[in-house]
Symmetry: C2
């Protein structure tokens, strides 16, 4: 019981020095690697860079205690940063104390929601986001973030959370392009693209072992940060107008509770919910993927609690909303992390940086951070998935296209809501017109096939109707309509047999429709039979009056119905 | 083509004098019977009684042209009157000219929506209202209407559209009970209950033939209206404070267009949508039931156009929202109506009344109308259905209970929306955890059964997993989880076979999950196979890359998979 809610108890008692050595190496690597991205994501959200560091300390400790994935690395991520910025823009002015407060409230609300959903075992809620919707949302968000970073690369200002806000600002700002900033930004970008594309092969070509080459290639952003910081410091580019990170307060994050402002909480409720769901979906699918690689398991409901407490920890330590981040998790996994202790070590490393090393970050150019964001964010733009979805299913594609367009035009909230509503609507629409077929007997066998597709025996007095879908409220009326059409079009029919081999569920609406069909057929002197009803469905039907009132019988097999009803006629 | 959009063309060319005679009788009976209820429903909506009559003239002609049911009788109905009142209360003051205008706008919006939905063939939207939700909604609405009529029976005033509004008004008003009104109301009520319960048997006992006894019993409200009107006139009860219908303007309804007031239209948009859907569902299920009785058919999408034009007709003739009414349709059907011409005849009859006979209605007591409403509305309270649903399915019951409670407490709009959201959510929840079972071979046969329920052969290296649900976004992740749990718990498994005999659909999300499962199992050196994939599902899969990348094979039958994989091992 205690182990279920404190997964740390499952691994800590068996912790060994060998595991610690592996976790130590991974933790140190992660703490160095994630510093640039933590600063960058805070900037996307419109927050001071140090907030990104704060959000990479306490939340990691919370996840170590409550999370179930062995290798997930928690912290600020690009998508949540974008959603945070979009949520905070209407409630406070960027740079104000209220804005910082609102970010903490957002993290707190999200943390409380996630924890509560975990306790109530509502992890299944995340399933309502279909893959095409998530993929479309990530693609559109990636495009929005990349567009917003172009401004930083050019040294102009263009904030906004929709294409309609960003593009005009960007275009009118083009003439103000700052040459030195552009040089730093374009240089970093070129270097990062190069090392991403060719780094690994290049390093291996000059003789490095595979593992080291991999790691060094991944350290590209750290290298870019160091070089551009040194260059900016040496030539004092900050005084020439190149935007730099600047003063970062030294010390551990202050522990405070976010203000309890009812109207602010109310305004942030929906954004917090969307942010929670998106963060959870991203994190849990990645966690599941990595756990499967090592034949481990994660518990989605306990993950909610892990991420929830991580967000609460972020809220009380002047942070911003967090979740399992793709790049930091991959670094952690590849660096050989064995347990969540690696996260604790990374947290200690980042804490040390905030205590001692923030002055070193003063001359870090914002354009370099923009370059690292742009390169990593464009991996979210998944053109292959768009093409595949188009090819596989037009209905899934339309949900995806709506999500992309609405995210770009109306913003992240409208996009994700439209995607969810459309996915559910299209699914209900598809199942509301279930495939059904009149079947006949394949001569000489006990098999029955669609009479319009195969050359089969049929009987004009017996209609064998196979239903290829569960029966529930969205298709109950369609079933009635199908049966009534059948008997209206074929007046010679005396027996209707519903073959239920693919019916996994009959809800109360469908039950009532079956009752109505039974009564109407009685009025028309047609007998209704059922065949091949599954065990669990039959158990439910026995709790209703349908079987008592049924004018015909329940046959175990279609063949039995066929034999019996043919015989009866003769 | 023309016949599809003008169903009148399907029956008018074959119209005979025999049909006309039948329609004539039915039309005259209906026009007399529906006058009291038309007046009463206008009062429920807070409108002058004459609006109920107006709404029973032109809309009937429109439905004659465009409707597909032979026997449906269109007009104001109790539920729509309640919804109309609830929708108008926040936008205008009862009795004002704006209130009348708003009722016309509501009818127009509803008419336009219904017509548009019909043209776009969106009739399936109505299916999203599950039977338990409709039944719960009708029960709660019936209770609200009955409660509101108690005030009229007592001669006190207590308007409101939720239990919270009605009950306190009613209780504080009790001391003002008007004795003469109560006498008229209670007398009518007692008479109507008696004739409803015993009228038919009583009239047959004194020697009337069955048909005439039926009809006379149904004419109970007309009789009550005549008697109480005469009594009220004779004793001049109106001057003693008994509320009467009073002056009704003589003449045909004025033809006008409702005002185009954008903010009013905007406010009434959601109420009009809910009203359209509820009206359509009620009307189409009744129409379907009656059509089936005579082996006729109705077309749901054309019905939308029929009801839509009827509402537009109501809007331009100073009316209120209309739909197919239960009691008037039953009267029409029982009186032998053969075609929609009966509706036209009823419309002419009601028009004659408004032109010539409205002074006769002056002394009709409102309490009598309240008694007729109370008696007919309580048939909507369906305790049996509540009990049945509780017995059959807790999840359907919870949607029903939420609908009832929210309708009573928060009003009709909140109730119906909560019901729809909950129905859909519960359905998705149920299908999001699909039943699946590991199966083994029934010894000596080609049949496979659940290994936990039956004594079957199984092989520790081959996991045969039968999936009992279509695979789509809401359960895709659950499928992944199930398979990963399977291989995590049984490290000796080398082959996983997914048996897809009950899978009717694989959407893009589920496809991606299958891809992910395939890749993860490859990493763990487990081979993934499919078996018994249905034809249409297979056709879709061939448009994807899954089959090319699949580590294993697609088997036609589980038995084939079993033989092959057992052999491979040996």
């Amino acid at each position: 019981m205690l182990k279920r809610y404190l997964p740390i108890l499952t691994w800590l008692p068996h912790y060994t020095s060998r595991l610690f050595a592996a976790d130590m190496i991974a933790g140190v690597i992660v703490s160095i690697m994630v510093i640039p991205q933590s600063l960058a994501y805070a900037l996307i959200a419109g927050l001071p860079p140090v907030v990104g560091l704060y959000a990479s300390i306490l939340p990691l400790l919370a996840y170590t205690l409550f999370g179930t994935s062995r290798t997930l690395a928690v912290g600020p991520v690009a998508i949540l940063a974008l959603m945070t910025g979009a949520a905070l823009a209407p409630v406070a002015i960027v740079g104000s104390a209220e804005y910082l407060q609102a970010a903490m409230v957002l993290a707190l609300l999200s943390g409380l929601m996630l924890t509560l959903m975990g306790i109530l075992k509502l992890g299944f809620f995340a399933n309502f986001l279909s893959h095409p919707v998530i993929s479309g949302f990530l693609t559109a968000s990636g495009l929005l973030i990349a567009t917003s970073q172009v401004a930083n690369l050019l040294g102009i200002s263009a904030r906004g959370f929709t294409a309609a806000e960003l593009l005009p600002n960007l275009i009118t700002g083009l003439t103000d392009t700052h040459a030195a900033t552009l040089a730093v930004g374009a240089g970093s970008l070129a270097f990062l693209v190069l090392i991403r594309r060719r780094g690994r092969q290049g390093l291996r070509a000059i003789g490095l072992p595979a593992g080291a080459a991999d790691l060094l290639a991944k350290a590209g952003p750290v290298f870019a940060v160091i070089v551009t910081t040194l260059v900016t410091w040496h030539f004092d580019l900050a005084s020439q107008g190149v935007a730099v990170v600047g003063d970062i307060p030294r010390g551990l994050p202050p522990l405070t509770l976010p203000a309890f402002d009812l109207s602010l909480w109310h305004q942030l409720l929906i954004p917090a919910l969307l942010l929670s769901v998106v963060g959870f979906v991203e994190s849990v699918s990645m966690g599941q993927m990595l756990a499967a690689k090592r034949r481990q398991r994660i518990s989605p409901n306990q993950e909610l609690i892990g991420l929830g407490t991580a967000n609460i920890a972020a809220a009380v330590s002047a942070g911003m909303p967090v979740t399992g981040g793709l790049s930091r998790t991959v670094i952690n996994f590849d660096a050989g992390a064995q347990t969540p202790a690696a996260g604790t070590i990374a947290a200690i490393g980042i804490a040390l940086v905030t205590v001692a090393l923030t002055p070193l970050l003063y001359h870090l150019p914002v354009a370099t951070l923009a370059a690292t964001i742009t390169v990593s964010i464009l991996t979210l733009v998944d053109v292959k998935m768009i093409r595949q979805t188009w090819r596989y299913s037009r209905s899934d594609f339309s949900a995806m296209a709506a999500t992309i367009l609405l995210t770009l035009i109306e913003g992240v909230e409208a996009g994700i809501i439209a995607g969810v509503v459309l996915s559910i609507g299209l699914f209900l629409y598809r199942t509301s017109r279930p495939h059904s077929a009149l079947v006949g007997r394949v001569p000489g066998t006990e098999h029955f096939r669609n009479i319009t597709r195969h050359d089969v025996e049929s009987d004009s007095h017996v209609a064998l109707l196979r239903i290829d879908e569960s029966l529930y409220f969205a298709n109950a009326r369609y079933l009635e309509d199908t049966v009534y059409a059948l008997i209206a079009n074929r007046p010679e029919v005396e027996h209707v047999v519903l073959i239920c081999s693919a019916v996994n569920l009959i809800d109360a609406s469908a039950l009532e429709s079956l009752d109505a069909i039974n009564e109407r057929l009685k009025d028309s002197e047609v007998t209704l039979h059922l065949a091949e009803v599954k065990g669990p469905v039959m158990d439910k039907l026995k709790q209703s009056d349908l079987l008592d009132n049924l004018s015909g019988r329940v046959f175990l097999s279609t063949y039995a119905a066929w034999c019996e009803l043919r015989q009866r006629k003769e």
